[in-house]
Structures are given as structure tokens and as C-alpha cells.
């Protein structure tokens, strides 16, 4: 054996020339491996595949002309993007390849951006520079930056677009939930533009809670908030019986009474369910408050709290005071001050108090609280950070109670601790934390939220958009969110509008709710007399609308205060109220307008002018529009409705001046009611 080896050595390296030749050959062979490796590379395989996929297509020649072999690359120095994805995803930009089922050859779905300007990894993550599938896509070889699952891809839109977008419902919902579910009470979220996310929920103050409810109810609520109201956003802290007992003891002991917060009415709380239900309906309580019906469906608005079991919660005297004037107990509340009469207060509270659930407090038996329990309760309140959300007298709002979530979308996975069986990716981690926050380690404080899987995905999407790229983006590329307005009307009328909580439903100058029409230019739009009558007795303008303006029982003085303010202040610069008369149009013009209304523009599809023939249910009823709107407003509305009210669904018909004039003449002649009947006779 040894002999053989020695003779082989002699043969190969016996003399120096031969040795040089052999070493050169070995060297040459090893040099050849590199091109061979290149020749057998994955992307080349996919490009061959592409050519065979397009071979039999009718547009094969065009596709082949577009095809460029070799490694392809999109390089965007501004964004730090080097994406070689198009080396394998060859057909991304081929308009005819939408029907190709085989990946990676399908055309990219239509998006508002050009692939050459944005590359791939900005939206999809992954490693752009990689030229093998595993290194580009998967989480093990792509270490920190695996491909983002498709369901979270909207998060990438949020890197640059800081406001809501039409095409990203999930991101919009997630951002909304971040403010609405109270996440930001504990977790600070600093946005790339330097602002912080503000909470939009309004957890009640607990400083005077003993006025409102009992210790038993607090106990039951703390144990399981959703048992009281399925729509409640209060999370479950999974408290032990003793902890719930002590916290309820502390909150009651800590509560101070509000003067005037409990009233005893001359009239007793009425138990007339029919009168109560009809007052509840007339006052449009259901526009804001929901009630769970017998079938378990929650019916009503989500602006105010759910009232299904309100009778098991509140003290009758408190409820009476609240219905009479909610601003005594909670000055900034979004609930309007209705100005109910004593008997109405009695009827409504009687109706509400009957909404009870005997199971709720059946098993709650609490002994009188001891000082130790109260002290322990106070400690628990600060341990669990109750003060982050609720105002509690003597308890400071904790600072930085929970980890800041800015840049959470770029958190390195090496810093994360995963649950067993969980995929080791950032989206899975975030979604898992929201889904079951206490499962990750013993002693964690984050409570359990009741979010649907879709809501969890939406929140995860919003959080993933807060990544390093969104913070380091060149400012020229960021699309700012529309500015928030904190507009407040001034003076006496302004106070009245706050008292009536107009902004809970209406928006004015960019501030307020979106349940009811925007009133920014109401003064140019309506006639004074109509507005006065509407305040006194708000009828409905839209037959199919469920939510309506409630009647606030305003005094004449209050009505004229509001009307004057609206008519003077809420004027559009583009509509001069007095530029067109309210009457005196020629019969010919009116007749032409009528023909246009029913013929060319077929307005009756959505509006009603003649209740006998028209049925349109979408727009407001126009039978009395001549007594309601100003002619100048109608004319400008015909010309361009979106210019007067952004987002209105009335189509812009690009009407000629003559058509708009004739339609204005026709509509302003619709004075409604008795007058029209009289005119006909």
C-alpha cells in the first residue's frame, strides 16, 4: 500500500515540470467550478422555465422580445434598495401574464405604483440582493428579513402613507384600533412625523364612581367585563376573586361625591315600557347606544356604551341626574344634554332601569371592606396601571407603563421570545402577543382583549408599518396624514353646541363625527326659517335613514342663538346666498328644469319630488327643497357637488350653466306641503 502511494507520488510530482503541470491542471479544474455553479444557478433554472411557459402562447414573440436573460436588478439608491427579485419573477411586468397560474411567472397585480420606482422589498420585505429562493424568501436563511405574509402587506403602504388610504382597509382599521382599543394609554407610539398616537376611546373617570354604581357591579365587571356588555372594550385582567374584591373596595372608598349628581325626582321612575320605548326611539338613543336583542345580536351605534344590562349597573338616582344633564357628572362627555322634562326623565330612566340581568350579580357577595383590603386594592390599582386609562383621584397616571411600540415593525427577532410551536417571525410574534398576552411569561400584566382574528391581523398590520424604513424615509417621499382639527365654535352659541354635543355626530371645519352631515357651510346652504323650524321639530330628510337628528327641546332663545351663529359663521366663500332669488323664475325655465330632472338627468332614481310618482330613496326628499335650500347653493351644487361637500355621492354631472339654472328654477319652486297643493288648485 505504502509502495503504491509512493510510486503515485513519484509519477505525479517526480520532477518539477511534471509537478507544475499537475498543479496547474488541478487549479484549472477548480477555476471551472465557479462558472459551472453559475450555469446551474436557481435563477437560470427559473428563466428556462419561463421561456418554456411562454413558448406556446400566442404572444410568445412579444414576450420573448421583452425577456432579458441574466441577473436582473432594480437599484434605488435613495431608498437603499437593491432588488434582484425580477431575475426569477420574470413576467412581473408583462400585462398579458395575469392568467398564468405557475409562479414565479405571473404578472404583478395592479397597484398604484410603478415597480421600477419602488422595487419589491419595500412592500414585501425579504432580501432583495439574494439570488436564491431560500435566501430571498424564507425566514431561516433570510434571517431578520423574511418575506412578509400577504395578509400583512398593507403595512408597507403605511411606511410612507401616514393617513388613511382607500385601498388599505386593513391598515386603516388597524390604526383606528390602535387609538380606539386603548393600546396607546399604556404603550407610547411615536409616529415618524414626530407626533404621538392619541387614544380616541374615553375611559370614564373613576373618582366619583360610587355615585354611579355599586361595589358588587364593579366586582362583577372586573372579573369579566364582557359578561356585562359584549361590546365592551375593557380588557379582562384575569383577576383573582380576592384581587377583584380589594380593587372594588378601594375604588368605592376612594370615590368622592359630585354635587348635584344624584337627584330625587318629583315624578317616580315610570315603569311604562311602551312610553319608555317610544321616547328611547324618538330621542334616537340607538344612534349611539347598542342593545343586545334576544337573538344575541347587538343592534345600535357604538358611540356610547352598550345598554343591554344598564339596570344592573347604575343607581336610579344617578341615572336620573345623568339623563337630565350628563354634563354635571362628566363635563366633556359626548352625550348631548337633551333638556328632558321631569316626566320624560322618569319615563326614560324607568325604561332603562328595567334592562337588567339577574345572573350578573347573583353570585357576588361581598363583606364590608377592611382597611387592609382597601390598601391592597390601591396597590393593585397602581400595579396593574389602571390609572393609565382611567382618572382615579389620588392615583397618578403612570409614565412609560408598558414598552414603547415605535419601530416595533423592525424589532430584531433575536430579541424576541417565542411561544412553543409558534413560527419564528415578527408578524407571528406581534399577533400572538395581542391574541394571548399573558401566555408569553408568568407575571405579565397586559390584559386579555376580546378582538376578532381580523382585528388582530389589522392591529399587527398597523404595528408592522412602524418600522425603521418609515422613520428613516426621505421626507419628500412621505405622504402626510390630513391635519387634525380641534376646531371649537366661539361664544355663547359655541357653549350651546358643546352642551348639545353637536360634534359627536356633525363635522364642522374638519372637527367632529361623521354620522350626520358636515355643517361647515350650512349657513350658505339653508334658509333661516327652515333651520328654525328644523331645530324645533327635526323631521327627516332621507326616508331610508335610520339615524336622525334628535329633538333637544330647545327654547326659542337657544334656537335663535344657534341659527344666528350658523347663518353668519358657516358661510362658503364660493356660494353667495343672496346672489339668486328664491322665487320669480319663469314658468318656461321651471318646465325645462322639470324635463331635465325626469329626463336627461333622471334625478328621480335617487330623489323624490312628487310623492305620487317618484320613489328614489338615496338622496334627501326634495318635496320642500324650495323652502329649505338657497337657490345659490342649489345652483352651485348642480355645477359641482364635491366642491361643496367633499365625498358626497351625488354625481358631478358637469352641467352647463343653462341646465343648472333651469334645474335650480324647478327645484326652488318645490315649496312643499300646503303651498304646492294650493298652487295646483
Amino acid at each position: 500500500m505504502k509502495e503504491k502511494l509512493r510510486s503515485l507520488w513519484q509519477k505525479l510530482f517526480g520532477d518539477s515540470v511534471r509537478a507544475f503541470g499537475v498543479v496547474s491542471l488541478v487549479f484549472l479544474a477548480s477555476m471551472a467550478i465557479a462558472p459551472a455553479k453559475n450555469f446551474f444557478s436557481e435563477w437560470r433554472h427559473y428563466q428556462h422555465g419561463y421561456l418554456s411557459v411562454i413558448r406556446n402562447r400566442s404572444d410568445a414573440n412579444t414576450l420573448r422580445r421583452h425577456f432579458q436573460g441574466g441577473i436582473q436588478q432594480i437599484w434605488l439608491p435613495d431608498l437603499g434598495v437593491v432588488d434582484r427579485c425580477t431575475s426569477c419573477h420574470v413576467g412581473l411586468k408583462e400585462p398579458t401574464l395575469t392568467d398564468v397560474a405557475q409562479q414565479p411567472y405571473r404578472k404583478h397585480p395592479v397597484i398604484p405604483h410603478n415597480l421600477d420606482q419602488f422595487g419589491c422589498t419595500i412592500c414585501h420585505r425579504g432580501q432583495g440582493a439574494a439570488t436564491t429562493l431560500a435566501e430571498a424568501h424564507s425566514s431561516t436563511l433570510a434571517w431578520e428579513q423574511p418575506i412578509l405574509p400577504a395578509k400583512f402587506v398593507e403595512s408597507s403602504c403605511g411606511q410612507c402613507h401616514r393617513g388613511p388610504l382607500q385601498g388599505t382597509p386593513q391598515l386603516n382599521l388597524g390604526r383606528n384600533l390602535l387609538s380606539r382599543s386603548g393600546c396607546v394609554h399604556c404603550h407610547a407610539v411615536k409616529l415618524p412625523d414626530g407626533s404621538t398616537v392619541k387614544a380616541t376611546d374615553d375611559p370614564p373617570s373613576l373618582s366619583h364612581i360610587a355615585d354611579k354604581t355599586t361595589r358588587e357591579w364593579i366586582y362583577a365587571w372586573l372579573k369579566d367585563p364582557q359578561a356585562y356588555a359584549v361590546t365592551s372594550t375593557m380588557p379582562n385582567f384575569k383577576l383573582s376573586d380576592a384581587d377583584a374584591r380589594d380593587i372594588s373596595a378601594f375604588l368605592i372608598a376612594n370615590s368622592t361625591p359630585v354635587p348635584g349628581d344624584n337627584v330625587t325626582l318629583p315624578a317616580k321612575a315610570s315603569s311604562d315600557p311602551i312610553a319608555g320605548a317610544s321616547l328611547y326611539g324618538e330621542s334616537f338613543c340607538a344612534s349611539c347606544h347598542a342593545v343586545q336583542n334576544a337573538a344575541g345580536n347587538v343592534v345600535g351605534g357604538d358611540v356610547g356604551p352598550e345598554l343591554t344590562r344598564i339596570g344592573s349597573k347604575v343607581k336610579p338616582e344617578w341615572l336620573q341626574a345623568w339623563v337630565r344633564n350628563p354634563r354635571v357628572y362628566d363635563p366633556p362627555t359626548g352625550m348631548p344634554h337633551y333638556r328632558f322634562s321631569d316626566s320624560q326623565v322618569a319615563t326614560l330612566t324607568g325604561f332603562l332601569l328595567a334592562k337588567t340581568d339577574s345572573d350578573l350579580l347573583a353570585n357576588v357577595h361581598l363583606d364590608a371592606a377592611t382597611p387592609e383590603q382597601i390598601a391592597h386594592g390601591k396597590r393593585l390599582v397602581s400595579d396593574y396601571g389602571c390609572g393609565s386609562c382611567h382618572e382615579i383621584a389620588g392615583v397618578k397616571k403612570p409614565e412609560n407603563f408598558a414598552p414603547e411600540l415605535s419601530r416595533i415593525g423592525s424589532k430584531p427577532i433575536t430579541q424576541l421570545i417565542f411561544l412553543q410551536g409558534m413560527q419564528h417571525t415578527l408578524p407571528d410574534y406581534i399577533a400572538g402577543k395581542i391574541k394571548q398576552p399573558r401566555a408569553f411569561a408568568p407575571g405579565l400584566k397586559m390584559p386579555q382583549y376580546t378582538l376578532t382574528p381580523a382585528q388582530i391581523d389589522a392591529l399587527t398590520t398597523a404595528l408592522l408599518s412602524l418600522n425603521d424604513r418609515s422613520y428613516s424615509l426621505p421626507p419628500s417621499l412621505a405622504v402626510a396624514a390630513p391635519p387634525e382639527s380641534d376646531y371649537q365654535p366661539a361664544g355663547k352659541a359655541g357653549k350651546l353646541m358643546t352642551d348639545l354635543a353637536c360634534f359627536s355626530c356633525h363635522r364642522i371645519n374638519g372637527h367632529g363625527g361623521d354620522m350626520a352631515p358636515d355643517l361647515t357651510w350650512e349657513g350658505s346652504s339653508v334658509q333661516r326659517e327652515w333651520l328654525v323650524q328644523f331645530f324645533k321639530n327635526p323631521g327627516t330628510l332621507r326616508p331610508a335613514l335610520i339615524r336622525r337628528m334628535p329633538k333637544f327641546n330647545l327654547t326659542d332663545g337657544e334656537v335663535s342663538e344657534l341659527t344666528d351663529y350658523i347663518m353668519t359663521v358657516y358661510q362658503s366663500p364660493s356660494v353667495d346666498r343672496d346672489s339668486m332669488p328664491l322665487s320669480g323664475y319663469s314658468q318656461g325655465e321651471i318646465e325645462l328644469g322639470k324635463q331635465l330632472f325626469y329626463g336627461k338627468y333622471s334625478c328621480q332614481g335617487c330623489h323624490i319630488v312628487d310623492t305620487k310618482t317618484d320613489k328614489g330613496y338615496i338622496g334627501p326628499t326634495l318635496t320642500q327643497v324650495g323652502s329649505r335650500l338657497t337657490a345659490a347653493w342649489i345652483y352651485q351644487w348642480m355645477k359641482n357637488p364635491q366642491a361643496l361637500r367633499a365625498g358626497t355621492i351625488e354625481p358631478n354631472r358637469a352641467m352647463s350653466d343653462e341646465d343648472a339654472q333651469a334645474l335650480t328654477a324647478f327645484l326652488i319652486s318645490q315649496k312643499g306641503g300646503g303651498k304646492q297643493e294650493a298652487a295646483k288648485k
Partner: protein, 243 residues
Amino acid sequence: MNCFASGVLILSVAALAASCSRKPDSTALKPTAFGASIVESSGGKQFGQAGTPLPQPVVVQVNDEPGAAVTGALVEFAAAPGVTFDPVSALTDSSGQATTNVSLGGMAGRYQIAASTLDKSHKKVELKIEEIALGYQQTLGRRLNEQYCDRCHNAESTAERVSNYDNLEVKPHPFTEGETLDKLSDADLTAIITYGGPALNKSALMPAWGNTLKKTDVQALIAYIRAVSDPPSRSASAVFAKD
């Protein structure tokens, strides 16, 4: 070392792993009864955003030969890769029903879901259910549809919105009505939406939206109409957004 060979190897290993991982799921539940047929109760033909959970769960019912509901039959759900079920398999409840929450895959298009159960002779009985995943453009179209079109084009009323369909003298076509809408080319649909019904000699009750909607909006709407068409739209020509 050939890439093709390695690809095949990876695929077969993946398939093996998938089949291995699926086995424990099905054996975890033991059927106590067997049915003869499986029918859809609810949840078919939903529109969901690609990659996200469908709004409603899919509910199927297992019946025996006379047609009575069977309790305790094992139902397994399966679909193309990318579709996830929660749970993947379930035993039918006291009303013979099995419920699962479905998340569609990341690609827009139609997904076929198979719900299967075993009959008495342990033969597989299968039900195919179709669900529709909407991509970016179709999702945008759906939103525009809800804002502008649905009130007339959809005869169903919801708690929030009363349908105007019955009030119209000339009835609009629901967007799912594939037989009619499929006969119209993209150019025709664009013309009707942009210039109103009279553009194609149709009712003036369909107003012109060309000054209200952007070109890309109209394209998104057409993409949505093609996506929800029933029967499926014959390979609709591609729609591009350039604005």
C-alpha cells in the same frame, strides 16, 4: 447536482412533511358516526381580501341517507396551499354542522375549498365550495361599490342601508350577474360608468360618473365586477391603472 432534481427533492420532502403533519390532526378526532352526503349551510361565495380571514365562517352539514343531520361525523377541510382553516377538521355538532374559519391565500382569484367526510363504507364524500379573494384593485373597487353602486345594484337591504333597487323603474344589474355583465367588454363598462346608461342606449337612471370618479376608480370597479361575477367571468382582459 441538478437544480431540477433538487427542486423535486425539496417538493417531495415538503409533501411528505405536509402529509406527516396533517395526519395527527385527523387522527386526533375520532368520528362517532358516518353520513351519506355533505351539504353547504352557509359561507360559500364570500368575497374576502386576499390573505385575510373571510368575514363569515364556512358551515357545512353532514346528512344520512334519508337526509337527517348526523352528529359526530368527521369533516375535513382542504384547499390549495396558502389557504388556512381554523380548525382543519371538526366533528359535526348536534345539528349536524361543522364550522371553520377560513383565511384565503395571498393571491387574488377564486379558491376552491373541499369539505369531505367519510360514509359508512369509508368512502370519501366531498363538497366543493368556492370563495373569492380580492386583490388590491378589487378591494378598492369593492369599497367604491359600497359607496356609490351597491345601493341601487344590490337588491338586498342591510340594517345600515335600505336598498333603492325596488324603487327603480328599470332594474339595474347586480354585479354578480355574470351572464349579462360578461357580455359587456371592459370598454363598454367603462363607457357606461363614465358617461351613464344612455352611452350604450340604456336607462338614464344610471348617471354618468366620469366627473366624480377617477379613471383608476372606474378600472378598480370593473376589476371588482369581473372578480365577483357568477358564473366566473371568461378570462377578462387585463385592467391597468395609469393615472
